[in-house]
Amino acid sequence: MFLNRVWQKERWLAVCFVLFIAGQAFFTWKGVQTFPFVHWGMYSERQSPGAHAVYVLHLNGRLFNYYKLPENTTAFLFHKLRFYHWLHKQGLSDPMLPVWESRYPASFPEAGWERLQQFVLNDDRRIAAFPGWLRRYLGRVTGEPVRSVQLHVQEYHYKDDGTLRPAGKKELLYDAL
């Protein structure tokens, strides 16, 4: 057995391995992702049919196809927009607030909780600064001055032939110089 072999050659390394296995087992059991433990369960949950959200950006009043950007830039932008949408659905409050409230022990100092809110969670100041950042960031990736940015979430349903039919639409932000 591998662990036995490691124990005989490098005891402390075997202890490290056992601790890592215990950590992996714990976080797998909890079902949460914690660096560096990998939880490779994606796409194993049942995917239910329903509406599909597409984030639509208009820059300076014109539709902007951000899927033509370099792949990693598109992915970065998409996840930012999706998170902003999530915040909107939560009434512009951080969706992780209940999680960290429950994890922060009541006996710990108040100053620590304030620091956690400042650096780990999104307060009103941070959320309000997002549209300005988005305009700046898009200006950099497009190489053109962005005077206005508008973000919509457009929902689509699939028709039987595999094409898309638009459903609801909602404006998430508008920011202009």
């Binding site: 998409f78 999706r82 915040l87 992780m96 780990v120 457009q154």
Partner: protein
Amino acid sequence: MRFNSSTSLLYRRIAFSLIFLFWLRYFLTGTLLHQLEAPQLVFAHTDNLYALLLFTGIPEWLVRSYTAALCLDLSLTLVIAANIWLHRGWLTACYLLLIILYIATFHCYMNHHTHALTLLFFAALPLLFTRHRRIKLCLEGLRYYILFIMSSAALWKLVRGTLWYTDQMAEILKHQHAAHFIFGTSPWREGLWQYLITHPMPAQGLYAGALLLQLTFIIGFFTKRADTWLALGLCVFIIANRLLMDIDFAELTLMALVLLPLHRVSRGT
């Protein structure tokens, strides 16, 4: 396994060369920290380590200060390049510390945590040591970890029963590609995606194929004879993910490296 210092040197050179290429790609696609324009909104999700790092204020300082972000990016570039040629434990330790900082900061400010970047950490971990006996044991440990990762992915699908839900893959593809259809990103692949969305059975066949491929990694727990085939399977998995899901798992090639019989290549060098 005839593992010697040449083998660990070969592993180091290939692993850090690959890491350097990935790093270059992040730069060219604008995802190094100094290229993010001081992003707003942070998301540690439920990750305790990320939350702890955020709590220190270091990631916030890194993204707010262009100079600090540029320094981290440049330091990592130099450290990765140096690691290709120099076999020093402290140099690898520097890399590991900096890459953890980059991964945590990038994930938190991207508002999404991916698995791919984590592999940049794991691939270098065995090289923290200079004695090749320790490197060998760590690489063996890493080999078992990639076997666990892949086979656990199959087990999750089996345990959750989605293999038997015939619309699973078609629904995944619908969800994954709605924006691609709207923005017209890849005409030649759109035909394939549309076919699979409208034909759930062949799509589910591919889902079952992926599960089977992941399940074959269990073989590695009993024998090392199939390792080269498993490395090849990993490459097939990377290509299939790119083709069908438009997901980039290129960093998984670092784990394929762990499965390859490098000791045979390095023998006599």
